[in-house]
Amino acid sequence: MDLGTLSTAIIVAVGVPVATVLFIVVAERLLGFLPERRRTGVRPWFWLFPGLAFLGVFLVYPTVKTIILSLMDDRSENFVGAENYTTLFGQRGFWQVILNNGLWIVLFTGVVLVLGLIVAVLSDRVRYETLVKSFIFLPLAISFVAAAVIWKFMYAYDPDIGTLNAAVSAVGGEPQTWLTEWPRNTLMIIIVGIWMWVGFAMVILSAGLKGISTELLEAARIDGANEFQVFFRIILPLMMPTITVVGTTIVIIALKTFDLVYVMTAGNYDTEVIANLFYQERFISRDAGTAAAVAVILLVAIVPIMLVNVRRFRSQEAMR
């Protein structure tokens, strides 16, 4: 173990927070010299400064810079206008990426929501609810990389290694190469995503479900509604806001998916998604301009969700 690194880590982990606290203490001292009336106006800016500085340097400035870079050439030297975008739009590979992300958005989001809701509703009716939910939620604790290894192992071709092919062989089928043919490979990777994220949808939807008054459901049942009617006519409409919140989150995950594809197929066999294309362009093709253009396209795809979030935040604030 490199002692130099260790000591740097300790110095930074302790030093930066201490420096921040010192900064505030010194700032408060300086404020003491100001007349009482001015203090309350100036103080917030001192308190905000470290945070805003980090946000500015590591998020706001880089994002603006990326938009500018997307209009420049591969070495970020000359302006080329919209050329990076037109080149991208002219490539078959780009549309494959869009198609794959489309599949991710539709299938991943759809299945995660439906399965999450099913598990939430079903587990609500049994005593061992907590146990079931813990097990379903568990994959969310591990990294995408570990999940990719877990499932590459499940999908291994040799029926004496891969669980899935063992199951296929057991019922008399031929072992399959699950990750080499499109669209099956993309579906198989999406399944891994689903395995990881159903727990997330389940927990939030379950909390929403418990917010529905039992009297209401009882009343419907007494009036002769069967369980399906109760679910589709009462539970589902009442849960729509929660479902939207979970849905937007899952769509963002689908748009940003990277690790699973990177580890499972490295983007080969037509499985590439936007985030992989970004990495590919910047670090394999070494084309900063096109990579930035890809990042901007990803950003543009996320902007509507950003607006939805801001709107939801404003209406929540209005109710406070």
Partner: protein, 314 residues
């Protein structure tokens, strides 16, 4: 943020009761039919939940079992045959990945990256969040809405210029670069969560403190922070897991150098170099999961809240 945990809320766990005020015979008929459907329904319910849970656990169990099997076994027989006599389990795979495949170093690197990258953003965020929650200043709402917007900005949109920046300063490939970057990337969520939590504390408490002559610093350290321990705990877990499980930022800002690579990067490389070396891959993957799993089982409530609260993070 709503308070959600995996534990169901306490409430009477009574099965749905049906009663009608109409004739006795009809009531009995209904009860009988209901009873039939109920029993069948309960069975189907338990079965469905059992199957789902089984499918969800199977892949992780497969990984765990394989990681303890000798290499000669893993390559030739399925992990499900491991439970036949004679048992053949070994720690050799773990020994091998820790010493020869750089996983020991990577484990330390992951820790060295994740701890400062968790402590720094939370400390920095706390001051800003307190200002947003309890100080008046022009543009407060507009500025906070920017923070809300930044929550979902994808890292990809910032990474190329951040890499340029760290290269210009000469820290690319060092932990400093990744600590600073994770601080920036983690801040919107940390500010958002803490501001909401601070803001929900009773106003009278702060007014009373100020009347008693407390300074904002005192109110912050003696009131706001201690009362926010649950929120901070969730935040710590969320940020720690986010950094611990991150591949993209480490890949880009640290490059491929083995001495600084965290476990995610090392495992991704092992997948390429080992190919079918499942006995080693499974052990390596499980090593990276140990800490998250311990945190998950030990601090489940905070963990779930942290993840859920973080749902809006980009």
């Amino acid at each position: 943020m709503t308070q959600v945990g995996l534990e169901p809320d306490a409430r009477p766990d009574a099965p749905p009761r049906r009663s009608t005020t109409s004739g006795r015979q009809r009531r009995f008929g209904q009860l009988w039919r209901f009873g039939q459907r109920w029993r069948f329904g309960r069975l189907a319910l338990h079965l469905a939940l059992g199957v789902i849970t089984f499918i969800w656990l199977l892949p992780t169990v497969a990984l765990l079992v394989s990681s303890f099997r000798p290499s000669s076994e893993t390559g030739t027989t399925g992990w499900w045959t491991a439970f036949q006599l004679p048992f053949q389990f070994t720690l050799e795979n773990y020994d091998s990945v820790l010493s020869q495949q750089n996983m020991g170093q990577s484990f330390l690197n992951s820790l060295l990256i994740a701890i400062p990258a968790t402590v720094i953003p939370i400390m920095v965020a706390a001051f800003a969040a307190y200002a947003f929650a309890w100080m008046e200043f022009p543009g407060r709402n507009a500025l906070f809405i920017v923070v809300v917007g930044l929550l979902v900005v994808p890292l990809q949109a910032a990474l190329i210029p951040v890499l340029q920046l760290t290269t210009d300063v000469g820290i690319t490939g060092s932990f400093l670069a990744i600590w600073l970057a994770h601080t920036g990337f983690g801040l919107p969520f940390a500010i958002f969560l803490l501001r909401n939590f601070f803001g929900a504390l009773p106003k009278e408490m702060f007014e009373a403190a100020y009347i008693d002559g407390a300074s904002p610093t005192t109110a912050f350290f003696r009131l706001a922070l201690p009362l926010s321990v649950p929120a901070i705990a969730s935040l710590v877990i969320f940020q720690f897991m986010f950094v611990w499980n991150d591949l993209l930022v480490a890949l880009i800002l640290l490059g491929g150098t083995p001495d600084v690579a965290p476990m995610t990067v090392t495992i991704a490389n092992l997948v390429n170099s080992l190919g079918q070396g499942w006995h080693l891959l499974t052990a390596a993957a499980f090593l990276s999961m140990i800490l998250p799993l311990v945190v998950f089982f030990a601090l489940q409530r905070y963990f779930v809240r942290g993840i859920l609260g973080g749902s809006v993070k980009g």
